[in-house]
Symmetry: C2
Subunit: 212 residues, 2 copies
């Protein structure tokens, strides 16, 4: 169930539910996801689970490992994952300064995390799910993984629940509501967003700069 990383091998594969990293393990490398989705989470002793980060193609996993101590949360593959292995102390630290793609990606991750604090603390179920689907679409679009108004959406409703802090049942009802309002079309692990502006409004997100 645990990944066997060979330092001489720059690529690794993982199956769904396979760990990329276990809690309190010393990371040997930082992964860069080439294909597939993964997530970081914490599980409480009574079973409640919260997903705290989602890793999509192109993402570093995890950039924070370059900063300090051991990871405090496990990371698990959600789909089949193909990843490259980078050294844990990226040369960018001393070389390219803080403006390198690597450090900017850490900045982005912190930014997303902060946005989720607002969503989990203050938003309704519909706003939460809208935030998630919107973020997925826009991140995938930046990586060229969208097709018109559509993109892949392999998450189960259970996983959406663990991401949005809701129960699977309520996620289901919320998705129904969004469908009837024409905010999203979601079926067969495929997402279509008819009106991005409407979804952004439903998510109560900050207005998005066009040039960004």
């Amino acid at each position: 169930m645990l990944s066997q990383v060979e330092s001489s091998e720059p690529h690794v594969h993982f199956r769904p539910h396979q760990f990329l990293m276990r809690e309190d393990e010393e990371p040997a490398v930082i992964f860069q996801i080439d294909e597939g989705w993964a997530c970081r989470y914490r599980q409480l002793s009574d079973g409640r689970r919260q997903i705290t980060a989602l890793y999509l193609p192109g993402d570093y996993c995890d950039p924070q490992w370059a900063l300090g101590r051991k990871p405090s949360q496990p990371i698990v593959a959600l789909t089949n994952v193909r990843a490259s292995c980078l050294p844990c102390r990226p040369p960018t630290t001393s070389a390219g300064g803080t403006q390198s793609a690597f450090w900017l990606s850490l900045n982005d991750m912190i930014e997303r995390q902060t946005n989720w604090l607002v969503t989990l603390g203050r938003k309704t179920a519909l706003e939460r799910v809208a935030h998630l689907l919107l973020e997925l679409f826009e991140r995938l679009r930046r990586s060229g993984l969208t097709y018109g108004q559509q993109c892949a959406m392999p998450l189960t409703q259970m996983e959406i629940a663990d991401m949005t802090g809701l129960t699977p049942v309520h996620v289901n009802r919320t998705l129904q509501l969004m469908r009837t309002r024409g905010l999203v079309e979601l079926q067969a692990k495929w997402l279509r967003i008819p009106d991005l502006g409407a979804l952004r409004q439903a998510a109560a997100m900050r207005a998005q700069g066009v040039a960004a």
Copy 2:
């Protein structure tokens, strides 16, 4: 209402409700809090507010500014604040590597933020408030600002609510409950924790390493 920072002056003062940084402003310096409390927050268009970070004495404000673009959230003083001004591109970047106090503090901040994702996503009102009071006490203790089982607690119930994603009314009821259970004594902006272990359990936090 806005701070006047002179680059030749290494110290600045702020009054309660005064901004250390406004949204989308270009930071000229990174503050290090010498005294007092501040917070970062986001406010939604309908008034809902979520505090996303708390800055206590010793904290950098904000370490993330060394990484990238403009801050997307305002920072405001909660009490009187005295702070030092550090350059935005800390020499530590190229010099001391990623193990410097500065980068470790960024790591800590991300860690705390991740813990709050779990709390806001999955925990009950009592667990949320317990998490907050516990974190405050332990951060202040690390800075030598606790006195036995006690520490300062200048936050209003309104601010606790904006931190924990609750309403002020419910924060009040929750504090009452915690008082009757003997978990905390809180009065006159002063917090006493009779049994740290009990509070940790009530907060449903990960068990804390003794040596940490």
